[in-house]
């Protein structure tokens, strides 16, 4: 489309649908430009990364060349420079870290790292004990542990290199301060800064360590698993697993016997449909309920709100499991309808694909409205009332007021929230798992013993792979794809959305 840029006056002269068309076409024509600027940014980022790396190397070299003999010694014995100048606390910290690292590498790290490339070669076998004549298991390598501890060793090496760099920098600073004839910081200053200027280090160290060990490490581990054939059979202990390259990803795009393209495509499509409906039905209905309660002339507002909020407090596994049984074939709903002679046979709410999908979305409305009611109530009250006042004087009816005032305002304020809730609905495990578990099953979608069904979303599929059938390699691939979907969505939304408020605006 080669529509030229319109001036503001020309734009205002357009009719409403023309404006819409214009905006949409603008979005598409801007894609090449955006892509280009994205790659430019990427190029700049890479460029600055390499420049920084080079600057670091240069600084390391000049530190060594121009440094004092203490500085040069501390290239090998970390912290020596600090110790020699009386900064005992820093010096000891560096020295301890270095000796711990060397100790670890000699006694464990080297072994794990050496096997990391093959993930183990010695098979576990059954051998006859020569004395008793009984078959015993002789354990060989453990691929799982090799992968894990190899990864941890790599982490340690990166951390060590960083510490070493800090140590060099430290000596560089010391040399600089001494050359200018000033005094070094005392040990007391060092310790004091931990509760003052460097207080963030004290605050962050433990939480960040926890995150690295219990989130980052496991996730990188699972990313690596996607490139191996680790599953319940090749569990690493009795049967080694090995690197298989992109084989697992290849199965996503093959229609052959081992291919999972159809199942993946169908489940991904339903995941996105589900996330869309779950987000927007909740959003609009929740807003609607909030507006009803907010309306002037409605009595006992607090009671309505409290009754709805009450449902948030009860853990979902109780309410959803109960509701799931409510609609079971022999549940209360069917029994009641039959006793009223409305139906002859029980309705299989969870047995028919389409019906189950609708049920899941409807029950999710039940789950979601209280949250949305809470969130939107406050924002709705913030809309300046004189806007409505003047709209009424101009003769706008309630629906027009809603479309022209309420909705734009709400969308503007809750834009980021909508994105978050779309992403969390992609990963909305509880509702699907507790209500249907993915049923009704679709036999053709069975992958390595993991069933999948009409209401399965990616995350419940993934859970089935990890907990029921132990198909860890496919689970890792699905996990990576879920991440990709969420990341791409956020990127799109954040580049298209006009309001990117900066955090410093608040303070």
């Amino acid at each position: 489309m080669d529509k030229e840029q319109l001036s503001a006056a020309e734009y205002l002269r357009l009719r409403r649908w023309e404006r819409l068309v214009y905006r949409i076409s603008k979005f598409f024509t801007s894609i090449p430009g955006r892509t280009k600027s994205f790659f430019l940014k990427l190029k700049n980022a890479l460029g600055s990364f390499f420049r920084a790396l080079w600057a670091n190397l240069v600084e390391i070299w000049t530190t060594f060349r121009e440094g004092s003999w203490q500085t040069r010694v501390s290239f090998l014995v970390m912290g020596f420079g600090s110790l020699a100048h009386g900064q005992i606390v820093r010096g000891l910290a560096f020295l301890l870290l270095e000796s711990a690292f060397i100790f670890y590498m000699i006694f464990c790290g080297a072994y794990w790292l050496g096997k990391f490339g093959t993930l183990g070669t010695v098979e576990t076998i059954q051998v006859r004990d020569p004395e008793t004549g009984i078959m015993v298991t002789q354990y060989g390598d453990n691929s799982f542990k090799i992968l894990l501890y190899g990864l941890i060793t790599l982490f340690f090496i990166v951390a060590f290199l960083y510490t070493w760099r800090l140590n060099v920098k430290q000596n560089h600073i010391i040399d600089g301060i001494l050359a200018s004839g000033k005094k070094l910081k005392s040990n007391k200053d060092d310790l004091h800064s931990l509760v003052d200027d460097s207080f963030h280090k004290s605050l962050l160290s433990l939480p960040v360590f926890g995150i690295v060990m219990f989130t980052v490490l496991p996730i990188i581990f699972m990313i690596l698993v996607a490139f191996t054939n680790y599953d319940a059979t090749n569990d690493g202990r009795f049967n080694l697993f090995r690197w298989v390259g992109l084989e697992n990803f290849g199965r996503l795009f093959s229609f052959g016997e081992s291919g999972i393209t159809v199942a993946f495509g169908e489940i991904l499509a339903w995941t996105l449909i589900w996330a869309f409906f779950a987000t927007f039905t909740n959003y609009f209905l929740g807003m609607f309920v909030a507006m009803m309660i907010n309306k002037k002339g409605i009595k006992i507002k607090k009671v309505w709100r409290t009754l709805l909020v009450l449902t948030i407090a009860v853990p979902q596994f109780i309410s959803l499991l109960y509701i799931s049984n409510l609609f079971a074939e022999n549940g209360i709903v069917n029994a009641t309808l039959m006793s009223w002679k409305w139906i002859k046979e029980p309705i299989k709410f969870w047995g028919d694909g389409m019906l189950a999908k609708v049920m899941v979305i409807v029950i999710n409305i039940w789950v979601g409205i209280p949250y949305l009611m809470l969130i939107t109530t406050g924002i709705l009250m913030n809309i300046p009332q004189d806007l409505y006042e003047s709209a009424r004087i101009d003769g706008a009816n309630v629906f027009q007021q809603y479309c022209k005032i309420t909705l734009p305002y709400m969308l503007f304020v809750t834009g980021p929230y909508l994105l978050n809730s779309f992403i969390s609905n992609i990963n909305n495990f509880n509702v699907i798992y507790l209500l249907t578990g993915g049923r009704p099953w679709e036999p053709a979608w069975m992958v390595n013993g993991t069933p999948a069904g009409k209401t399965s979303i990616l995350i419940t599929w993934l859970f089935g792979m990890t907990s029921d059938s132990g198909d860890y390699k496919t689970a890792s691939v699905i996990g990576i794809l879920i991440f990709a979907v969420c990341a791409i969505l956020s990127l799109i939304v954040f580049t298209v959305m006009p309001s990117n408020r900066r955090e410093d605006d608040y303070s």
Binding site: L203, P207, I211, W304, Y322, F463, S467, G479
Partner: protein
């Protein structure tokens, strides 16, 4: 303008606003705006007071309808809980029944829950996990939030972006590794609550958004004034920021304490089918797994009531803080 006209105008404004009488009266338009007044009087003369009363009647009808709708809605929302409560007192049959009101009332299900299942153990384990998580998670979240909100250090953006990116991976993936690790350390299976508590706490720093958003709204000038008076960053955190952050602290504690009660996925996965290691969620869900639902359904309902009651009461007491946290977090995104 005559007295009559003024009264009439006032009336018209109100009835358009929805016929509510306890409102503050709308301010009268200043006399210097003849155009506006003329427009409004013309509007009144045209339609007359008949329209005026018809608007009032209409708004009353609308309000009645809304009251009815709200009543229906709230019934629908409360009904499942009433159902659970009623079924927990049903003694004549333990499975699914096609009716709501028990034919034979009694506490049999509660007695059975506490004597024949491991429920007391699950309850205690969950309670202790909740306590530990509440303390550690709150400390972690507040520490990370304060550091990210108030300190400007190298790598801050990078740290926040990394946490955002790693937060987009599905958490289940980490469970495979964590279970194996915890099994090696003897903290899984029957000891799963210990392992679970560690897992809940360890990564909790990633949930810093809401608390950080709150800290961001506390003016920096307060910090600077305290700095001028010679306070260290730590003193500012403990003596200035924390006392101002009561709502967000309570919100964090509440969320952290409630999380273990509803988590059935991790708890079941870590316990690895060893029912001694379950929390209430995993345990109760296990009670009505497909083969057992016909014998345990009412017991499950009793368990649901026992779990939901204390949590709901706690939640209702602290509802104000929950609302503040949720709305604050949503608006800032």
């Amino acid at each position: 303008m005559t007295e009559d006209e003024r009264i009439f105008e006032f009336d018209a404004e109100e009835s358009i606003a929805g016929g509510e009488f306890d409102l503050e009266p709308a301010p009268l338009p200043p006399v210097e705006e003849p155009a506006l007044i003329r427009a409004q009087t013309a509007y009144g003369e045209d339609k007359g007071s008949r329209r005026n009363s018809s608007v009032r009647v209409r708004s009353r009808i609308v309000n009645t309808i809304i009251h009815i709708v709200l009543a229906v809605l709230c019934t629908v929302w409360i009904l499942p809980f009433v159902g659970i409560l009623l079924e927990s007192f049903r003694c004549e049959s333990p499975g699914l029944a096609g009716y709501l009101i028990p034919k034979q009332w009694g506490f049999d299900n509660y007695v059975r829950l506490f004597t024949e299942t491991q429920f007391p153990r699950w309850f205690l384990q969950t309670f202790l996990m909740g306590l530990v998580t509440a303390v550690v998670q709150t400390a972690f979240v507040l520490a990370v939030s304060y550091a990210l909100s108030r300190h400007r250090f190298r790598g801050r953006r990078l740290l926040m972006n990394l946490m955002l990116i790693f937060g987009m991976f599905p958490g289940f993936l980490t469970l495979i590794l964590l279970r194996t690790l915890m099994q090696d350390w003897g903290l899984a299976d029957a000891n799963a609550p210990f392992g679970l508590a560690i897992i809940y706490c360890a990564s909790s720093g990633m949930g810093y958004y809401i608390a950080k958003g709150f800290f961001d709204t506390i003016p920096r000038s307060l910090d600077e004034a305290a700095r001028v008076d010679g306070a260290s960053r730590m003193q500012i955190f403990f003596k200035l920021i924390l006392p101002l952050s009561k709502p967000i602290i309570i919100y964090t504690v509440l969320m952290a304490f409630m999380a273990p009660w509803g988590d059935f996925v991790m708890a079941r996965f870590m316990a690895n089918n060893n029912d001694a290691g379950y929390n209430v969620a995993a345990g109760l869900q296990w009670l009505i797994s497909e083969t057992k639902v016909d014998t345990n359904y009412t017991t499950f309902c009793a368990g649901g009531v026992v779990v939901a009651l204390p949590i709901t009461i706690l939640f209702m007491c602290l509802q104000k803080y929950y609302v503040a946290g949720v709305t604050g977090g949503a608006v800032k995104g």
